[in-house]
Amino acid sequence: MTTLDQSPPLLEVKSVSKEFGGIRAVDDVSAEIFPGELVGLIGPNGAGKTTLFNLISGFAAPSAGTIVWKGADVSRLDAAGRARLGLVRTFQNARVFPGLTVRENLALGAHRFQAKPIHPEGRRWPLRRAEAHAAGNNVAEALARLGYENVAHAAAGVLSYGQAKRLGVAIAVMCQPSLLLLDEPAAGLNTDEVETLRQDLSIMTVSGITIVLVEHHMGLVMTACGRVIVLDAGRMIAEGPPEQIANDPAVIGAYLGA
């Protein structure tokens, strides 16, 4: 690995493969992610990026290989269990709970940290009031940070695509991840929204969240990420700092369809 970080890796992907009816969507991929990194995961369409995310986050089981999280093998743990350990992912589309309010969406991200309701009626038991208050404050804080206070009580289903997408990321952040897997957060966003996303990414990194970013928006990847991994046809073909990747003949070849 190119990183000289002394701390042990947060996540180790060890010779992971995934087959769908004879086709290897992910073919013997190994990688390590270290605490504090912002790693870009790029590759042409169908390279296996999302499948790799599914394998890491537990939404699909690998055909071979293991996923090691903070030194422990989590290959057999289900997705909810991995999320509980701080391994959280987002989805390509603007995925939110459409019938619930924006506020409730955020609260659901944090639901396992809440002993008690996010709703006023539920706050009567004095013992738990403090905890409920803290949780409520977290949600309020998140709403303020996002600038979503005035849509807090709107159903998430009526948000614009860009807003919903940002909410999707915010829900995952409320889950207090150590590692956040972002699946194409910039896809479908306009220039201003991408700029907001860039700021969001740096805020998340500063607050201690390690990030793996699947993205087609090369401008964002090349400027935001410290390290880039390239997949093509399920295989890892390159890895290194952005400037090195940008000039890698194998990568250029993969993108040009050579």
């Binding site: 709970f97 009626e121 539920g122 979503y148 206070e149 005035n150 709107a154």
Partner: protein, 372 residues
């Protein structure tokens, strides 16, 4: 954001609603009109029974067809324990709920592997198997049935006393108070993190998983909770009739329950109550449609699905939302001149009406058509 004062006000408001409900019930319980008391008791029982489906389906998103079967388990268990073993009513009620929980847990564990219509067929198979098995046991009186011999004792409220088994108000009081307690607990649950998790699973199970919600366990909890409520409703239904037999618990009863829940509104706390009230008043009191009431309600179900799939509560909530939106749009016209800062209204058409969960205790969930 709601301020602390708003919150206190909301707590007080919801407290008043529950208190008001209790007062109305006691007042009706003093009525001497047997017709009203019977209709009231049957409404409360059906509302309870349908609420069991509402919890599993309306909030949890799983369309269960086992609720009548689970109610039958409760009714028969109570009748057997009281009639054959001489248990006191309240102990038998506990036994009946226990039996419903055990059966519900087994069905839930097996069915939670499936979703969508496969889940429905699975619960239907279990429900029908229960309905076919129960009458084969000698202890249940087979096709003849058995008496429920219900004797819940008396209750004093202030200077008034009721015999809870009595047709003269007591049984109505029992059923209505049980209904209020159950609805109160369901309302609290739905606002708790676990209840929110249930609704999240209904909305999007994959996204729910990604934020560490254990989807399987959440669905199982919802199903078992539904079994508890169905078990209680079954006991009260048996007590109301005084005698239970197999043809009370049939596919047609399953349809009745579905009609009530859809008519009132899936995912609304008082949806089942409204649906049950309309059903009981029309069939039992007005005898609307005569012996053909099934067809009338079938027609009603089709019409509601086509024109108001969220049910009557959904219509009401939409009306309130539209009203608020109009009112706030009027206000916004004068005060919100600051332009379009990020996130200032998702569609750019002005502020969105508050979600219905803060409207009052009765509109706790914004329902979508996509109930699985």
């Amino acid at each position: 954001m709601t301020s602390a004062a708003d919150r206190r006000q909301a707590v007080r408001k919801s407290g008043l609603v529950w208190l008001g409900a209790a007062v109305v019930i006691v007042a009706v319980g003093r009525s001497s009109n047997l017709e009203i008391l019977n209709v009231g008791a049957l409404t409360a029982i059906w509302a309870l029974w349908s609420s069991s489906l509402n919890v599993v389906w309306g909030y949890g998103g799983d369309f269960s067809m086992a609720q009548i079967g689970l109610g039958a388990v409760g009714a028969y268990m109570e009748a057997v324990l009281v009639t054959h073993y001489g248990w006191p009513f309240w102990a038998a009620l506990g036994g009946a709920v226990g039996a419903a929980v055990v059966v519900g847990f087994v069905i839930g564990v097996v069915a939670a592997r499936l979703s969508g219509f496969y889940f429905s067929i699975m619960t239907l198979a279990f429900g029908l198997a229960l309905l076919a098995l129960v009458p084969t046991l000698a202890i249940t009186g087979q096709s003849t049935g058995l008496p429920t011999n219900i004797a819940p004792g008396t209750i004093r409220i202030g200077g008034l006393e009721w015999n809870l088994a009595s047709r003269r108000g007591g049984y109505f009081l029992l059923c209505a108070l049980v209904l209020v307690v159950v609805l109160f607990l369901v309302a609290r649950l739905v606002k708790s993190p676990r209840g929110r998790a249930m609704v999240a699973v209904r909305e999007d199970p994959v996204l729910a998983t990604s934020v560490a919600i254990d989807v399987g366990r959440t669905r199982l909890v919802a199903f078992v909770l539904g079994a508890v409520i169905a078990g209680i409703a079954g006991v009260l239904y048996g007590g109301y009739l005084g005698f239970i037999f197999p043809s009370l618990f049939t596919f047609s009863a399953i349809i009745t329950m579905i009609v009530q829940v859809v008519l009132g509104g899936r995912g609304f706390l008082i949806g089942p109550l409204i649906g049950a009230a309309i059903y009981v008043v029309l069939t039992d009191w007005v005898r609307f449609g005569g012996q053909y009431s099934d067809g009338v309600f079938g027609l009603l179900l089709v019409v509601i699905i086509l024109f108001a799939p969220k049910g009557l509560c959904g219509l009401g909530a939409d009306a309130i939302d539209a009203f608020r939106r109009r009112r706030e749009a009027g206000r916004a016209g004068t005060s919100l001149a600051s332009g379009n800062q990020p996130g200032s209204g998702p569609t750019g058409t002005g502020p969105i009406a508050p979600a219905s969960d803060d409207v009052g205790p009765h509109h706790s969930v914004v329902q979508t058509d996509g109930t699985r």
